[in-house]
């Protein structure tokens, strides 16, 4: 009871302090100076600083980071949204944290994607540079009680696994099989660590290389080989992260306890010659009566809205972070990854993975609210009541 009052009081005080600060220090200028100071070396709440850059493979680097001030330790397997500025535009991508929660520093391990603007930029960072990262998120996390595990990864999908195995090294009762797939020996990320891990009690490491083990024309991942390597597969808690083709095959196995993390950007739905044109109506738009946009039934709403000049808030663009969540008033959309259909009115959908099937009426679209900045409250105040409602119900629907 007392603590409730105390909490409420401190929240009120915090609000008052924030308002006063906003009114006295000309609003957003504080935010500006904060990011300036971050580059000068002052620790800030939303900037991490690069303290080392490690070459893992020819195309993969680990950024060792000093965590932002007030960083809440992540759970092994979680990711953070990294935000950088490209040609003046803030752009973010999700990266698994490859360090364990007890490690003194944070790590993200970044594979340079061909033509990838964000990964390309991250590879140019040097010691001392600052980058904005969001609090850790994600449900792809290690169970808290000891269980028998299979950590199954392909390529850069190994990054959340490192966080997990480092956490497991802390406990005595580990029973872990790590199966990792890479194209060639030179492409194995954390190769030395995997080698050392193989000698630890409770750990078994299987590394499969496409150029040495896979039969020609088979691609990297093979279900039969996995069953042979891990006969007690069905009894294990399975965590899988890798290229889309591998993920699909693993999901098709129907394993009872499967945890999946998708990090490849969402495959763009192939242009469908049979696609038809539908209308998407945006609520709460500046122009009276909303705005109606012609969209096609073979593309994600987010891409199509952006092509029409709208700037909805977005983050991961692969159905993870829910930055682009939006109220769908009516109409039917299909989830681009799971194929799930949402046809009931007033459902929350994620614009980045929702493909319209019929005419769709959307609620107000939140504009690029990057991540919880000090201005969050202010933006809440300017929302119209329906949108507030939508936000609240979004929080309810979202199991996170």
């Amino acid at each position: 009871m007392l603590s409730t009052i105390e909490r409420r009081l401190s929240a009120t005080l915090r609000d008052a302090r924030r308002t006063a600060a906003r009114r006295f220090f000309v609003d957003r200028q504080t935010g500006l100076w904060r990011s300036e100071l971050a580059w000068l070396g002052v620790r800030s709440r939303d900037h991490a600083r690069v303290t080392a850059v490690l070459e893992e493979t020819p195309d993969t680097r680990t950024l060792v980071l000093e965590p932002p001030r007030g960083w809440v330790p992540h759970r092994p397997g979680q990711w953070t949204r990294v935000e950088i500025e490209l040609a003046g535009v803030r752009t973010s991508r999700c990266y698994s944290l490859s360090s364990a929660p007890h490690d003194p520093e944070l790590r993200i391990t970044v594979k340079r994607v061909a033509n990838g603007r964000v990964s390309g930029r991250l590879h140019t960072l040097r010691v001392g540079d600052a980058l904005r990262i969001s609090p850790a998120e994600g449900q792809f996390v290690l169970p808290t009680h000891p269980v028998r595990l299979l950590l199954l990864s392909g390529g850069s999908g190994i990054t959340p696994m490192r966080s997990m195995w480092r956490a497991l090294l802390q406990s005595d009762a580990a029973d872990v099989v790590i199966v990792h797939h890479a194209r060639t020996r030179a492409d194995v990320i954390f190769a030395a660590e995997l080698e050392a891990l193989a000698t630890r009690r409770g750990f078994r490491v299987v590394v499969r290389l496409d150029d040495e083990h896979a039969r020609p024309g088979e691609g990297g991942f093979d279900v039969g080989a996995l069953r042979t390597a891990v006969p007690d597969l069905e009894e294990r808690e399975v965590f899988v992260c890798g290229p889309p083709a591998m993920m699909r095959r693993v999901e098709a196995m129907g394993l009872p306890r499967l945890h999946v993390e998708r990090f490849a950007a969402m495959p763009r739905p192939a242009a469908d010659p049979d696609a038809t044109e539908v209308l998407v109506t945006l609520g709460g738009h500046a122009s009276p009566g909303g705005r109606t946009i012609a969209a096609r039934t073979d593309g994600a709403l987010l891409d199509q809205l952006e092509a029409a000049g709208e700037r909805p808030a977005s983050g991961c663009r692969m159905g993870l972070c829910r930055t682009c969540s939006c109220l769908k008033r009516s109409g039917t959309v299909r989830h681009a990854i799971s194929g799930a259909i949402s046809d009931a009115p007033d459902e929350i959908i994620q614009l980045c993975v929702s493909v319209p099937c019929t005419d769709v009426e959307l609620g107000p679209i939140v504009q690029h609210a990057v991540h919880a900045a000090p201005d969050e409250r202010a933006s809440e105040r300017t929302l119209d009541p329906r949108e507030k409602l939508a936000r609240r119900s979004a929080q309810k629907v979202d199991p996170r």
Partner: protein, 408 residues
Amino acid sequence: MDTQSIETSGRFDPANGAVTSVVTSDATRDVTRSPMSPTTELRPAHGKSSRRLSRDEADALGRELDAIRAEVLADLGERDVAHIRAVMKAAGAASIAGRTLLHFGIDPVTFVLGTSALGLAKILENMEIGHNVMHGQYDWTGDPALRGDTYEWDIVCPGDDWRSSHNYEHHTFTNILGKDRDIGYQFLRVADEQPWELRHLAQPVTALALAVFFEWGVGMHDLRVAETTRGEQSLAELGRRSGPFLAKAGWQIAKDYVVFPLLAGPNAPRVLAGNVLANVARNLWTFSVIFCGHFPEGVRVYSEEETKDESRGEWYVRQINGSANLEGSRWMHLMTGHLSHQIEHHLFPDLPAARYPEIAPRVREICERYGQVYATGSLPTQLADVAKRIVRLSWPRRAKRAPSAAVA
């Protein structure tokens, strides 16, 4: 509606388009003799007037402007972000320097320097930062510090009021009598088409007072006091609209006139005086820039009738004819928040304002090609023009002839 009056007065010939200054001046006399009507067409601009465009012509002009717009949008990048951040840093630094000089200095030199620095900071924050950021000119960056829909600027007008009364009403219904509440701010008579009332006799004085207290005028604009006194708005609605304004004004008064002076202890009167002067300097400057943007001779007003189902191209044409530019140096443009390029601003209110000088020559060329007046002049000229107009229109009868007609 006015097509007929245009033809009978012989002001344009849509067929050949070109209008000579002699014809224009004749037209001026026609207008001045004709009974006052809120729908009077076109006023000449310094001996020229814009050619009336057919819808097809207007749309062709619109497409050319859209092409410029698309080009700038595609080119937005690091340069624009660097510019606005540099201005924000300069304004922040000037504000800190100004306040420090006022707080700790004791001599008149630091007083003048401190007040000037603070005034400069307030002008930059008000014009290049506040006004432009709140237009959403930097929304594309995704930087929360540059977000237009939550920015709160350093004047007594609440940001949300401004976003609705300025960004939406004024920029959508620019210079439409009865819809653009910015025409004379509902109490000054700045267009012949506005009916004369007794209180307009005092408008040279009220306009001066508005200049000194301009931020208060802007802040109270959306309360619709005039509408309430005329019985068009209920007192309850006035009360509802006053809430955010009083809250914002309270914070501004507390900041500049109570807390900062008190923090200075024995230096309180000096800080208070410096803050008052800095705010007044900013008020005079913004008043001048904004009045020169829409009220010099040559800028015309429109009737609701003639803007009914207007096309995008025609909307562009109205923006051109409803605005006037100021000429000056790069620094002058910056200090006006690039509102010295009022025409470009009204055409593209959501493009970063620092881009206006770059596109201005092309906009001007398009205007010339389509026979549209691209009104422009130096700040003193335009300001004198506005002053003359305010004095002239304070009388019920119009001057014998408009200044521009004198050339004929």
